[in-house]
């Protein structure tokens, strides 16, 4: 079987920064080589991935993380290639500045998922980030390109300062989604209250959305319903405090 499996040896017990584990090229690395990648532990300091995880398998462009990773921060940060599957929930800033490849999180994700590193202007610049649970505040902040999908609830300020790219939320979306967005799209299949700096444009059926949702259903098995495909969307343009070329698309039964 090709692909790597990283199984947590024992509960983390402290926050772990995994930001360097999958940054840059990694798909051709063996389990042993990847084990040497650095990890920073909040209490114990420097460590190697192999100190925390048992890595098995052979390089095949995929890696599966198994174990309770609620305290694992920045998993998939700087990802440029390959497919990363996380069976459970992850900590903060997963997929930080993700640039390519796929990060598929089976559970919840903490705040600033797929966002820009603090002090940097650009968040995701490509790739696809799927959160099959809920995501914390400021998911997709400063996103430049790429796709972020959240299956349950999204926190406040989702898509904060998006430059472009797409965020799709199946559940309710927190306050101030898309605030200061330039060209980004926030697609809300659940409840959303657009910021006051967005202006209602029309109720429509964006063709690209049907293409995107069809692909998400086929490619990731996401629960896209016929009403999502054939239904209508209220389109709000914004953020008018910025370029105003962004949009919030709110699914509507009418």
């Amino acid at each position: 079987m090709s692909g790597l499996v990283a199984k947590l040896k024992e509960p983390l017990g402290q926050r772990a920064d995994l930001s360097e584990v999958l940054a840059g090229s990694w798909t051709s690395l063996s389990a042993r080589e990847l084990s040497d990648r650095p990890v920073y532990l909040e209490r114990d300091g420097d460590a190697r991935l192999g100190d925390l995880f048992q890595l098995d398998g052979s390089p095949g462009g995929t890696i599966r993380f198994v174990g309770e990773l609620d305290q694992a921060d920045r998993l998939g940060a700087g990802l440029v290639e390959g497919e990363v599957i996380v069976e459970g929930s992850v900590g903060r800033e997963a997929g930080l500045a993700l640039a390519g490849g796929r990060l598929d999180i089976g559970g919840d994700a903490g705040p600033r998922t797929g966002a820009a590193p603090l002090g940097f202007k650009r968040g995701m610049t490509g790739g696809e980030l799927i959160v099959r649970g809920s995501a914390g505040a400021e998911a997709g902040a400063a996103m430049r390109r790429g796709l972020l999908v959240i299956l349950h609830a999204a926190g406040d300020r989702t898509g904060l300062g998006m430059i472009a790219g797409t965020v799709v939320v199946f559940g309710p979306v927190g306050a101030e989604a898309g605030l200061w967005s330039k060209r980004g799209s926030v697609v809300a299949l659940g409840r959303i209250t657009p910021p006051p700096t967005y202006s209602y444009a029309c109720t429509c059926q964006p063709a690209y959305l049907r293409l995107l949702l069809t692909r998400l259903r086929a490619g990731y098995g996401l629960p896209v319903r016929p009403r999502h495909l054939t239904g209508f969307y209220r389109r709000y343009s914004g953020d008018m405090a910025e370029l105003g070329k962004g949009e919030i698309l709110e699914w509507t039964a009418k």
Binding site: G126, R145, G146, L147, T166, R183, S185, C204, Q205, P206, A207, Y208, R210, L211, L212, T214, R215, G219, L229, K245
Partner: protein, 300 residues
């Protein structure tokens, strides 16, 4: 060789390398898909006068299209690389962009040569256009009065084959037409090919150049015109009073061979004397489809 009493001449169809793009059109209903497809493939029979050859490859079910709506697959072919991009931009811009509910996608995603189509059409959006990258491919959202027109940024281009053909030599015009209809119908659903002429059938096969006007690049194929039997060097056997041609373009030689086999088999029926093919002595086109080899099961 004879098939059901129809003589298969020992000759070949001479075909040319062309550049081909596959265009996928989707729409809310088959009505609008068909409307766009008919316009897109209109006036596209021969590069002799149309600049492009095009036809509907097949209808697509909702499950086969990128956006889950009914669709159609179209092949468009030109002789040159540069021409194909121009023709795609012109035709998609004038016939699909204008058609209600439609979207337009590349049907050759694996082709390494890419032609900018949506990237040119986006300017119709006058600065209001927006792009989305979905599955690694960029699409352009062009605002239109109805809503939005979605078109893929780049379309794949492959080397295809144009000008596969066979001639149905019949005792009467009715018999020729009946055989041609049967052939076209049998070939219509074959994958990877299109029949660019009206109903898939040509009545005015041409030869290269002309006897009288030297500037003409094509003129009537007098050797196969029954009315000229007495005044030209005729290629028609005794008893032939009408000839129709089936022209087939495809993405590769195998698709054309296979379609020709199907079509010729369907055309071999009462009233047909012989099946022949158009060629230029083998000097112009690199692809030679030998009728007897095809009908005996061997490919080109």
């Amino acid at each position: 060789m004879k098939i059901r009493g129809v003589f298969i001449e020992d000759t070949f169809a001479e075909a040319f390398t062309m550049r081909v793009a596959r265009v996928i059109i989707t729409g809310r209903s088959p009505r609008w898909v068909r409307a766009a497809a008919l316009k897109l493939t209109g006036f596209a029979t021969s590069v002799i006068g149309c600049k492009v050859e095009a036809g509907i490859e097949r209808d697509l079910t909702a499950k086969e299209t990128p956006d889950g709506r009914p669709g159609v697959s179209i092949l468009m072919m030109t002789m040159g690389k540069d021409d194909l991009a121009k023709r795609l931009i012109e035709r998609v811009g004038q016939t699909v962009l204008t058609c209600p509910t439609t979207a337009c996608y590349d049907g050759l995603p694996d082709a390494p040569d890419r032609l900018g189509v949506g990237s040119a059409l986006r300017f119709f959006g006058d600065g209001f256009q927006a792009s989305k990258v979905i599955g690694g491919q960029r699409f352009w959202r062009i605002p239109v009065m109805e809503g939005e027109f979605l078109v893929q940024e780049k379309f794949g281009m492959l080397k295809g084959v144009g000008g596969g053909n066979f001639l149905i030599l019949a005792r009467s015009a009715d018999a020729a037409l009946e055989a041609a209809e049967a052939a076209a119908d049998s070939m219509a659903a074959r994958p990877g090919i299109v029949l660019p002429f009206p109903g898939g059938v040509v009545r005015s096969g041409s030869k290269v150049g002309a006897r009288r006007i030297k500037s003409m690049i094509a003129s009537t194929n007098d050797a196969f015109c029954p009315t000229l039997r007495a005044v030209t060097v005729s290629a028609l056997p005794e008893g032939v009073n009408s000839v129709l041609e089936i022209v087939v373009n495809g993405v590769d030689t195998q698709s054309i061979s296979s379609a020709m086999k199907t079509g010729i088999d369907a055309a071999c029926r009462d009233g047909v004397v012989a099946i022949s093919a158009g060629n230029y002595g083998g000097k112009l086109g690199p692809h030679h489809f030998y009728l007897r080899k095809i009908m005996s099961g061997a490919a080109e």
